[in-house]
């Protein structure tokens, strides 16, 4: 292995650490400090703001729905893409990745154009039958599903490919039907991949901003989520609330990263 000469090694090390510290580390620390500038009492007061508590509840509810839907879709899609052959499989595989590169604002707009009760393609018809999508929970869940769509699929697909279908073929030869094979062989094999996918989806769902800003209508106390309340509070000079909620969201993201990072080595030792 090429070993850099000692001065170069230190220079690269320093540059890398300094860059990450100045760009991410220090700002995050500063935010935490700012959130607790008035001590725990101040933090608690900010978090008790009714707008804030409601926003957090909305966020959690929407995210949980989105994560469940995405997990089911993700695992199913992964199985279809890896274990089956059908025309358009490659195109579908590429399209599933699309949300990763799309702007959340574009996603919000796209959903509006189809489901808006006023001018959408399907919106008016749906609302006539009592299903209000835009500015309402279903639309928000859909928007969140959209942005996090690929996450579970992309975790599960490589694992399915690497595991191969030897075990499944063995199970079939021993008489197991499709459901039994799925339950007893396939799902346990992808267990960890699904866990990572769920954690990633959760982090992404909790944090969605741009798409929800459009699709939810940002109605305070009704459809406003935690990230949206951060913006509103900041714009209204209610900085304490903004920083408090922001801190909570940062803490959750860091927690998700830690969980995944701690789980991974564990998975490697049991597989």
């Amino acid at each position: 292995m090429v070993e850099l000469p000692v001065p170069a090694r230190w220079a690269v090390r320093l540059a890398a650490v300094a860059y990450v510290f100045l760009l991410v580390g220090w700002p995050v620390i500063t935010l935490a400090q700012r959130a607790f500038a008035d001590g725990f009492a101040g933090f608690h007061a900010a978090m008790s703001d009714p707008d804030v508590t409601h926003a957090l509840l909305v966020t959690v509810e929407i995210s949980l729905w989105a994560v469940v839907i995405n997990t089911v879709f993700g695992v199913g899609m992964a199985l279809l893409l890896v274990r089956y052959e059908f025309p358009g499989r490659r195109v579908l595989s590429a399209l599933v990745d699309l949300p990763m590169s799309m702007s959340p604002v574009v996603i919000g707009l796209a959903l509006m154009l189809v489901y808006s009760g006023r001018y959408g393609w399907f919106g008016p018809t749906l609302e006539a039958h009592g299903l209000v999508v835009i500015f309402n929970s279903p639309g928000m869940v859909m928007a969140t599903c959209f942005v996090a769509l690929p996450l579970v699929v992309r975790e599960v697909v490589p694992v399915l490919e690497e595991v191969g279908d030897d075990q499944e073929q063995a199970a079939r030869s021993l008489g197991a039907n499709a459901v039994q094979t799925l339950r007893r062989i396939t799902l346990p094999a992808i267990k960890w991949a699904v866990v990572y996918g769920v954690v990633l989806s959760l982090a992404r769902s909790l944090g969605e901003f741009g798409a929800l800003k459009i699709v939810s209508g940002n109605l305070t106390g009704r459809t406003q989520t935690a990230p949206l309340v951060v913006e509103q509070k900041y714009d209204n000079f209610a900085q304490n609330e903004a920083y408090a909620v922001a801190f909570v969201l940062v803490a959750i993201s860091v927690l998700c990263i830690l969980v995944v990072s701690l789980l991974r080595p564990q998975e490697e030792s049991t597989s």
């Binding site: 700012r34 959340p104 279908d165 901003f209 741009g210 990230p227 993201s253």
Partner: protein, 282 residues
């Protein structure tokens, strides 16, 4: 964490074979049908709606929208800044990946974890995080809010993990053998790095750069608080789209959105081609 997400297209080609692929039977066919229906309702039809709406005012309307001075300024700013940040990421991202893979020092694990933070954090919070240290109430007296620099800063923040996480696994998989072979043939360290290591990680860097560029172009949340979205100065394309939507001008919004969609599609195609080319090398 983001390795898994970003690495799928650029991970070393799986050692396992997927096995024989089944043709669709009843249950699987139904499953595919349901999945496709959901996917269409959620993704495909809405995207189609954007393309359709963009053409509401015909070709001239489309071009007019895009060449509107303020919009054009937004496009130039966004593309320019995205390219700049991608360039920065190519250098810093590769360097960070190198340090994570080939260096040993206390705090390396911490560095590894911190890099994932921008990926897991809500974008608006990212903006606020940067504002805490580099905004009006900065404890170190640095205030870049409402300047072009703030755009660069925000984009650099959210795209930090991309190149690092695509390069890291490839670098980790490199065989020591190959570098020793180069040394035995007389190549100095610099030569080996330039002619052997760099070409080996080049596709990973390119993949990460593509992802980084696509992400930067589409970024919204982190820019909202810190850039001020000043027209002609710090207004990004995504902000422009939102302004159109809030103003009821859906056609212009859709027109601009198609540009962003086009970029996303190009990136996906480019990544797929890259992956196939790497697979050829074996």
């Amino acid at each position: 964490m983001s390795t898994a997400v970003l690495g799928q297209g650029t991970r070393p080609v799986g050692r396992g074979r997927p096995g024989v692929r089944w043709t669709l039977t009843g249950g699987a066919g139904l499953g595919l049908g349901i999945a496709l229906s959901w996917f269409s309702l959620l993704v495909l039809i809405p995207i189609a709606a954007i393309v359709a709406t963009a053409g509401d005012e015909g070709w001239h309307g489309y071009v007019d929208t895009l060449t509107n001075p303020q919009t054009w300024a937004a496009i130039k700013l966004t593309v320019g800044q995205s390219l700049l940040v991608t360039g920065i990421n190519v250098v810093m991202g590769t360097g960070i990946a190198w340090v994570l893979v080939r260096d040993r020092f206390r705090g390396r694990r911490l560095l590894d974890l911190v890099i994932d933070i921008p990926f897991a954090m809500p974008t608006v919070v990212a903006g606020l995080v940067l504002l805490s240290l580099y905004g009006p109430k900065s404890p170190i007296g640095v205030n870049v809010s409402n300047t072009r620099t703030s755009v660069t800063l925000a984009l650099a923040f959210v795209t930090l993990p991309f190149i690092v996480r695509t390069v890291q696994p490839v670098l980790a998989e490199l065989d020591a053998d190959v570098e020793e072979a180069a040394a035995s043939l007389g190549a100095r360290r610099v030569t080996t790095l330039r002619r052997i290591v760099l070409p080996a990680i080049a596709p990973a860097i390119a993949a990460g750069a593509a992802l980084s560029f696509a992400r930067a172009i589409s970024e919204y949340g982190s820019l909202v608080l810190i850039s001020g979205s000043l027209p002609y100065r710090t207004e990004a394309v995504s902000v422009r789209v939102l302004t159109f939507v809030e103003g009821g001008d859906r056609t212009s919004a859709a027109a601009l959105a198609t540009v962003m969609l086009a970029v996303a599609l190009i990136v996906i195609v480019a990544l797929d081609l890259l992956q196939r080319r790497v697979a050829r090398r074996g």
